[in-house]
Structures are given as structure tokens and as C-alpha cells.
Symmetry: C2
Subunit: 318 residues, 2 copies
């Protein structure tokens, strides 16, 4: 690994950056399987290939971006530890990354976080700090923790190293299924979507790139259609991984590289979760089902095509 | 494929019979993945390799035995169709086998069968006949249907072709993980267990072969310990795939080739289901969790070993 390929990324990742990211993180992540289901293909009228990031370490793709960021820090920065604020998969990803690299993690979580998420994060060795459940309180607490510890903040998506890491999931999918006509991913903060779009443009420019989003948190849809960054007015979707807003970095990539964004209702998300549970025998979080819901809602667009879907994660309270 | 390797098996399958069975059914079954989980390994104190037959066609290993039996029938027999009585996975396996071979299936189901099971069986093109939920009523109805249709009855386990077919799951597991110290499977009627035991003795004689059974339906445990075929007195275990009794053919293999049988409580089964759901993100039926429950209950026996587990299926009402 050359120094160049390990440098901290400060601009939109190029093809070489994603390739180097993949080599960098490979020893620390699972190459997740690609599954398909005859009955889902019949229901969709398309050949759908599911990239199963629910089987990734910590149960979600977030492991890729967190690890890719951490491995690009200096040894001294790594020694001082990693920090973030999150109540979800990114918290576990940062904690597990730090644990694998033999350093400390400091995670700020809202005091309303489910006990199971707190326990999982602590289970990866994290030092957990609680705060009120507002963005301001989370950011204030994180600043305080970082001042005390000198740990490095890893943002969940507004970070090109994170985006390049998340791109490696779609890279593996293109390697396994080289003739995709379409690729589609869910959009929350846009890190997974940005990475998916970039690597698809680099490796398979003829494929269409779509995003899928719950109607209730359609900031990306409205941003894409209006050309100006919008924010969510509510966060009450069942797809809890998609409640966040796009950032400048992710919106900039999404506006340039996506073909379209589809929105789906809560009941369409639930139906897609059930279909994947029953037909594929795998556990996914609701966010993961949003792309299949979009496919089933827009069948003529996908008819007869080879469609890649990123199943983002499987962390759900059973 | 020689005629010899396709002959209908009328005695305990030899190694060559299992090898030929695998070649015969390969075009019609999935080669299912072998998964493992760091956290389950830590909990068990062993390296546990799960053979995921929940991802098999129709969601269970039963597809292997049904297909292996059907493919050994004469063309005229296949033309006249396949028949069985079952309210569970074997019904779906026989129906799907007939559908794939372009012939008819006749399935006798108790009128108390869950609608979802009936719908799934009909979804594979079966002609479904209902009867009272007693073994006598089921057998009487099946005789009547076979008299009318001349279809061939495929018994769910008291059939060496079925046993040789079920053995191919463990064969694949030994191929993928060649250094297993132990293999363990759940015991219902004993078809999967018999096949698993036979192929393990043939391919890896140094490995221990264990069975796992719910305490509430411990006919195999009592048969194994007493040396005489016993029957279940109750059938109210959550592991609905394991409520059946051993047959002469399966008991004969099990008594000779198993090292031991472990029983587990209902709460131990439920805890093992949850562990697999949460840590592996896969859906299994309770029967599939019985071997892991036995491992966790008997840790000293499995400590530090490479343990193969057959996850039998994933058909569960969610």
C-alpha cells in the first residue's frame, strides 16, 4: 500500500481512490454475498440481485466507511481514538473500527437511544456519553468530548473517506454481477448513495443509478427535483436509518450522478420487508427494503432488467 | 449419469449412492452457503459452521430428498405424479419437485393446516386434499388418492432415496469445511440425521456425529438410549419440524452411527433462535435452532472444536 493510496481524501473520490479504499479495508470487512430469489424476480418482473450488507460486520455497510476513514488517519491520530455522535449503525461501526485498530472510541448518543443500541455500542468497547436528543446537544457534547480526548470525529456521511468506503459495497456487486442495467440504493444522509453512484459511473457507466427514499423523509427527492438542498420536516418513518438529511458533499454527488429518485409509502416499505423475510429468509432493517419497494412500485421502469440492490443493514429489534 | 447411479435405492445408501444422488439433484437444488458468526463462536467457545438450508429451494433441506427420490422413478411413474401427506416442508418439497419435473403432485394435508402452508403448497402447483388431523385419516386419504391417480408416494423419511438426498447437505458442508471435529443435526423423523451420519462416517470418520432434539419430543433420545424404537407421547414443541417419530430405517442408521443425542428445553430453543436471528441476520424455523441450543448447553463437549451445524429450514410465520 503506497502512501498515496492511504492519504486522507479531501475531494470527490476518483476511481483510484475507491479501488485503493477497497484494498485498504479488505482485511477488516466481510465480502458479503449477493443473493436473489426466483419468487421476488417473478413479483418484480426483473432479475434482482441483492448485495447483503446486513451480513457485514456490525450488521451494516457503515463498517466500510468508518474503517476507510480511520485507516487514513496518522498513527498518532488513531492512538488518540475515534469519536462520533449517532444512535444507529454508525455508532457501532466507529466503535468496532476502533476496537479492531486497538484504540479507543467515544460515542455521543441521545439519552432516548434504545438500550439494545447502547449495549451493542458498549459491546464493541466504546465509551458512551449521553445527551439530550437534539442535534445541537449532540454536537455540543461531541465538541466537549473531542476537546478532552483529542479523538478524531468521523462524520457518518459528510466525509469523502466515508463515501469512498461505502462505494466498495457497490464495487463488489459490480464485480460479482458484471452486467447490471440498474443499481438502486436507499438514501438517508447520502453516503451509501453517493458512493454507489460514483463507482457505478466509473465501472459501469451504461447502468442507470436510482435512489429510493421514504415519502415521509423525502429531502433527497425534493433536493434532486429542485436543485437546492432541502431538509426533512419530520422523521417518523419506520426506516430509521433514513431519517437524516443530505449534506453538501453528498447532495453535490447525488445531483450530478443519479438518474432519478423514487419515494415509497410506509406500507410499501413494510410489504417489501415481509417479502424479503419470507422469500429470502434474511433479516433486514426497514431502510434496506426501500429500494425493493420502489422497484415494485415502478415495474415498467425495471421490467426485464438486471437490477442491483444494496441491502444496507439488518439491525432491527426483533 | 449411468443407469446404475439412478437406480431406486432399497438398502442403506453407500458412499457411491450419496455421491450419485448429489450429481443427480445438483441441477435442481441450491448449493447453500456456510455462514459463521464471531459472536456466536465466542458464546459457544467453538468454531461453529452453519450450513444454511433455510436458503434451499422451498426454504428447507426437504427439497434434496424429494428430488432424489423422484429422479429415480421411471418416466412412466414420474408422468403419473407424486403424492404425500404432510402439513410441513415435505409437502412443499414434493409439490415443487413435481412442478420442476413437469408432472402433477397430490398432497394430503390435515384440515387444521395453517393457511400459509396450504397456500404455499398450492403455489407450487399441488392438488391439495384435506382430511382430519390424525395419522389414520391422513394415511387413509392418501391411499384413496393414490388408488385414483396411480401417483407414487414419497415418504418424508422412511425411504433410502430420501435419506441419500438429505445426506448431500452434510456432504457439501464437509466439502466446504474439510476439517470438522463434530457435526450435529436436529432429529425429527430422522431423515436428515441419518443422511448426515452416513456421509460423515464415509467422508470424515474421525468426526463425532451428534443429534439434537427437543425434550418434549425425545423419541430419538429414548430410542438411542434404550436400543428400542420409542414413540413421542406429546407433540407440543415449538420446533414443529421435529414432532414426528423415527422410523425403522432411520432408527437403524441412527443407533449405529451416532455418538450421542442431546435434548434441549423450549426456552433453550427460543434463546438459540434469537441468537441466530440477531447475530447472523437470517430467519430460521425453531427446529433449526435445536443443535445450537444443544451446543450452548454442553459447552465442554464442543470447546475449541470445529463444529458443523445443519440449519434445516426457514419456513416460519412471521
Amino acid at each position: 500500500m503506497s502512501n498515496h493510496s492511504q492519504r486522507y481524501l479531501r475531494e470527490v473520490p476518483a476511481l483510484d481512490d475507491v479501488l485503493a479504499s477497497h484494498e485498504l479495508i479488505k482485511p477488516y470487512i466481510h465480502r458479503t454475498p449477493v443473493l436473489s430469489s426466483r419468487l421476488i424476480n417473478e413479483a418484480a418482473g426483473a432479475n434482482v440481485y441483492f448485495k447483503c450488507e446486513n451480513f457485514q460486520k456490525i450488521g451494516a455497510f457503515k463498517m466500510r466507511g468508518a474503517m476507510n476513514t480511520a485507516l487514513r488517519l496518522t498513527p498518532e491520530e488513531i492512538r488518540q481514538g475515534l469519536a462520533t455522535h449517532s444512535s444507529g449503525n454508525h455508532a457501532q461501526a466507529v466503535a468496532r473500527t476502533a476496537q479492531l485498530l486497538g484504540t479507543k472510541s467515544y460515542i455521543v448518543m441521545p439519552d432516548t437511544s434504545p438500550k439494545s443500541k447502547v449495549a451493542a455500542t458498549k459491546g464493541y468497547g466504546a465509551n458512551v456519553f449521553f445527551c439530550e436528543n437534539t442535534l445541537a446537544a449532540r454536537e455540543a457534547k461531541l465538541r466537549e468530548v473531542i476537546e478532552q480526548t483529542q479523538a478524531t470525529f468521523i462524520h457518518p456521511y459528510d466525509n469523502y473517506n466515508v463515501i469512498a468506503g461505502q462505494a466498495t459495497a457497490a464495487k463488489e456487486l459490480h464485480e460479482d454481477i458484471p452486467d447490471l442495467d440498474v443499481i438502486i440504493a436507499p438514501i438517508g444522509g447520502g453516503g451509501l448513495m453517493s458512493g454507489t453512484a460514483l463507482i457505478t459511473r466509473y465501472l459501469r457507466s451504461e447502468a442507470s443509478v436510482y435512489g429510493a427514499e421514504p415519502e415521509l423523509v423525502d429531502d433527497a427527492y425534493r433536493s434532486f427535483k429542485t436543485g437546492a438542498l432541502q431538509r426533512n420536516n419530520r422523521i417518523d418513518t419506520i426506516a430509521d436509518g433514513l431519517r437524516t438529511n443530505l449534506s453538501d458533499k453528498t447532495f453535490n454527488i447525488i445531483r450530478h450522478y443519479l438518474d432519478d429518485i423514487f419515494t415509497v409509502s410506509e406500507s410499501e416499505i413494510i410489504a417489501a420487508v415481509r417479502l424479503i423475510n419470507e422469500r429470502m429468509k434474511i433479516i433486514i432493517e426497514p431502510s434496506s427494503a426501500v429500494p425493493l419497494a420502489a422497484i415494485l412500485k415502478n415495474k415498467p421502469i425495471f421490467n426485464g432488467k438486471a437490477v442491483g440492490v444494496i441491502l444496507s443493514g439488518g439491525n432491527v429489534d426483533l
